[in-house]
Amino acid sequence: MKELSAFGCGFLFALGLGAAGMTQPAKIINFLDIAGNWDPSLLFVMGGAVTFGFICFPLVLRRPAPVLDDGFWLPEKKRIDFRLLSGATLFGVGWGLVGYCPGPALVSLVALTPSVWIFVIAMLAGLGSGRWFVR
């Protein structure tokens, strides 16, 4: 069941990314290009997703447990440290260079464009090598 629900949520997530325009790197770069031909649409994407989550997350977390598991799996770290900020900085540089973040890049694999595959393979290498720095 957990696999089925995860599949369904991933499926829905991909449709949301596609409808929102997040899978079009040109739109992402135009959103980040505040000095150029600025495209504000990502603000509406974030606005819709965060507002909905902001209202629903606390309601869900009032339950003693999720529907299909014994407990919630939530991040426990609270401190804003150097590692968090340096990671986010590097992430933003990569995001700004080509306009892909992890979700949209995965969804776009099905278009079979070589550049997306190269991006995802490099991203997996980055995710894997980052492991040596997080312990």
Partner: protein, 140 residues
Amino acid sequence: MEQWTMVIAPLAGGLIIGLAAVGLLLLNGRIAGISNILAGLLTPQRGDGFWRLSFVLGLLAGGELLQVLYPQALNVSHPRSLGMVASAGLLVGFGARIGNGCTSGHGVCGLARRSRRSLAATATFMLSGIVTVYLTNHVL
């Protein structure tokens, strides 16, 4: 048309993303952070890999449906060299791993959880993304 692509479609897409994130929390008790879901797949723990793999397969299946119904959504053409694409992929993966999350984990779920760490991370990657695009589009 302008209003549709700039406001309505992004807002509707955002709500669907939010719904998927709330659904994964409600059903599986998990945060819909793509980079963390992937990172867990690279070093799978016993009994923990299958929901991650299923979520990723769901993303790909959603991509297939988009490809059929709305192929413009997967318009991947962008004028970047393959070397730049590979460097960007490495930075995105490495940065998300040491920063514990990406646009979905920090930017959507973290903000929805009112996490100060996620707010700091989101502000930071937005800013470094803006600086990067400024440099590549207007300076270099």
